[in-house]
């Protein structure tokens, strides 16, 4: 899957989970940039992303992610396998 398509589909996941159609993610986006993204909603986002791309994240992979860019790279790597 192309990187831009991953970004577009991931953006839709963000909009659905945080119920906000105006969200526009970038590689630098972090939880600080999205009002409803906190420790409680984080795992809902992870679960929705796993369903969207039919992949599974390991706990260690999630801990290592610092921003949406890391998130997308991890999705890309998993889809390439």
């Amino acid at each position: 899957m192309h990187y831009d398509e991953i970004k577009s589909r991931l953006n839709r996941v963000f909009c659905t989970v945080f119920k906000d159609d105006t969200i526009l993610i970038s590689e630098e986006t972090t939880a600080k940039d999205i009002e409803k993204w906190d420790s409680l909603t984080h795992l809902i986002l992870i679960s929705a992303t796993e369903t969207e791309f039919a992949i599974k994240f390991k706990l260690k992979e999630l801990i290592a992610m610092k921003n949406v860019g890391d998130f997308m790279k991890s999705i890309e790597t998993k889809l390439a396998v």
Partner: protein, 496 residues
């Protein structure tokens, strides 16, 4: 000669005379340490050795030979941590993680929870208390240093620490570091350990800030927390049958401020002492009663504990339950806060307190979208004001469980407020309790005052000429020691 022997006796472990930060003995010993520290602080090895010796002595003075348990636990995790980097398979790493959890949590359960668990087990089985109880005194601070050392092992397992600590002195110093060993803030290994390997960066601003923090912390403790405790809160909580619902309500409002000023005052002193030594310990409070929901409160109250639970308990649980979506998150929240309540103490009051906070956060989470819609429609800040008001009352009323010695005692306070409430006594009460009321109002004003004010006064203090600073510090210390009385109480969080 007699005075020398008295001084040497004062250095020995005495459970009736603990070495608290606000004691004359601590001030004297810390001053001696500091003089020596000035000579060695630029040499990392000598500096750390001096700090370790003082830290172990400090813990010995408070907990006697439990200092050996502290060293043994730090030593075991030092070697487990090193071994975790050496083993070749993930499975072996997991066994080492489980070994560390077994040792640390095992020690915590043994010293803190055995009698509670025995009584609960026998109570369920026979309806009677346990016929056998262990005669163990809990090592002070064990709940805190166990969390510190576990953070090191967890971070190695999660690969957020890149290499093991190879300096034994530095690791034992990290676990036993005297400023934060008794009641936090719970500094994580990845934050504090690297500081022990680095050169210190002292400057005029940091030293000035440290003195301001220590003086403010002591002021909070002596003039607000202890005063409210002795003159308002304890009276009602100890004998609720003599008071009306109005006085019960004022005691609840008073306790919210007492525990906040006690614990945040303690933390200010800890951060200040660490800063004087050149180390940075994380802040633990950020205007907690400004929170507009209970989840927000836990981002502002005892931050080092809540981030610890968030990283090492809630997150792995929520990850495990993530396929249940909202239900999974709620389940993880409830389990985390049940454990958090139990961590505070082996009593049903703490368990109920923790669970009530878990339920409140689950409510916050489940209603987030609805509340967000309401908040957007509200343009005058009324919604936010009401949110803070309701959250504060939930917190203050739940803290009754924290203060009461049993569920029955807590129930008496709740009954008092909800069934014997008579506002007509308010005027007479205000006359009788004019000073505690004034202190209570000052406490609330200080808590709700903008953070910028604190920063402004600190900046002004730093700018003063050193002679004026010394004068203010000396007058401040004398003023604070004048405030000491027989009512001076130990810091509340030392119980945990």
């Amino acid at each position: 000669m007699a005075s020398i022997s008295e001084f040497l006796n004062a250095l020995c472990y005495n459970p009736k005379a603990p070495l608290v930060f606000t004691s004359v003995l601590f001030v004297a010993l810390f001053s001696i340490l500091y003089v020596g520290y000035i000579f060695v602080y630029s040499n990392i090895k000598k500096r750390n050795l001096l700090l370790l010796v003082f830290s172990l002595f400090f813990y010995y003075k408070i907990s006697g030979f439990y200092v050996l348990l502290l060293v043994a636990m730090a030593t075991s995790d030092y070697f487990i941590g090193k071994q975790m980097f050496r083993v070749s398979t993930q499975q072996k790493k997991k066994w080492l993680l489980l070994l560390s959890i077994f040792i640390n949590v095992g020690a915590l359960i043994l010293f803190k929870y055995t009698n509670f668990l025995l009584n609960t087990f026998f109570g369920i089985a026979t309806g009677e208390p346990s016929p056998v109880l262990l005669n163990l005194i809990m090592p002070i601070g064990i709940s805190f240093y166990v969390f510190k050392t576990l953070s090191y092992i967890f971070d190695i397992y999660r690969e957020t620490i890149d290499e093991p600590e190879t300096n034994y002195i530095n690791y034992v110093l990290y676990v036993s570091f005297f400023p934060n060993i008794l009641a936090g803030p719970i500094a994580k290994a990845r934050d504090l350990l690297p500081q022990f390997a680095a050169k210190l960066n002292f400057n005029r601003e940091l030293i000035g800030k440290a003195f301001v923090l220590i003086l403010i912390g002591a002021f909070k403790k002596v003039f607000i927390a202890d005063f409210l405790g002795a003159n308002l809160v304890d009276r009602v909580f100890d004998s609720p049958e003599f008071f009306t619902g109005w006085e019960g309500l004022m005691a609840i409002y008073g306790y919210a401020m007492q525990i906040y000023f006690d614990f945040s005052g303690y933390t200010d002193i800890v951060i200040g002492i660490a800063m004087l030594l050149g180390f940075n310990v994380m802040a633990n409070f950020n205007k907690p009663f400004m929170a507009d929901n209970v989840a927000d409160f836990w981002r502002r109250w005892h931050i080092s504990l809540s981030t610890w639970f968030n990283e090492y308990v809630f997150y792995p649980l929520a990850y495990t339950f993530r396929k249940f979506k909202q239900g999974g998150v709620i389940l993880a929240v409830l389990i985390t806060f049940f454990i958090s309540g139990f961590w505070h103490g082996p009593a049903w009051t703490y368990i109920l307190w923790g669970t009530s906070h878990g339920l409140a956060i689950a409510f916050t989470f489940a209603t987030a979208n609805l509340r967000s819609k309401i908040a957007k429609k509200n343009t005058f800040g009324i919604y936010r004001f009401l949110s803070i008001f309701i959250t504060f009352h939930f917190l203050a009323f739940s803290m009754v469980l924290f203060r009461a010695e049993s569920l029955q005692a807590a129930q008496k306070i709740y009954t008092l407020v909800f069934t014997h409430f008579d506002i007509s006594v308010a005027g007479q009460w205000a006359k009788l309790y004019a000073t505690p009321l004034a202190v209570l109002i000052v406490a609330y004003l200080l808590h709700y005052s903008p953070l910028k004010w604190n920063e402004f006064f600190t900046r002004q203090f730093i700018r003063l000429h050193w002679t004026v600073k010394v004068l203010i510090i000396v007058v401040g210390i004398l003023f604070i020691f004048q405030g000491f009385s027989s009512d001076t109480q130990p810091f509340i969080y030392l119980e945990f």
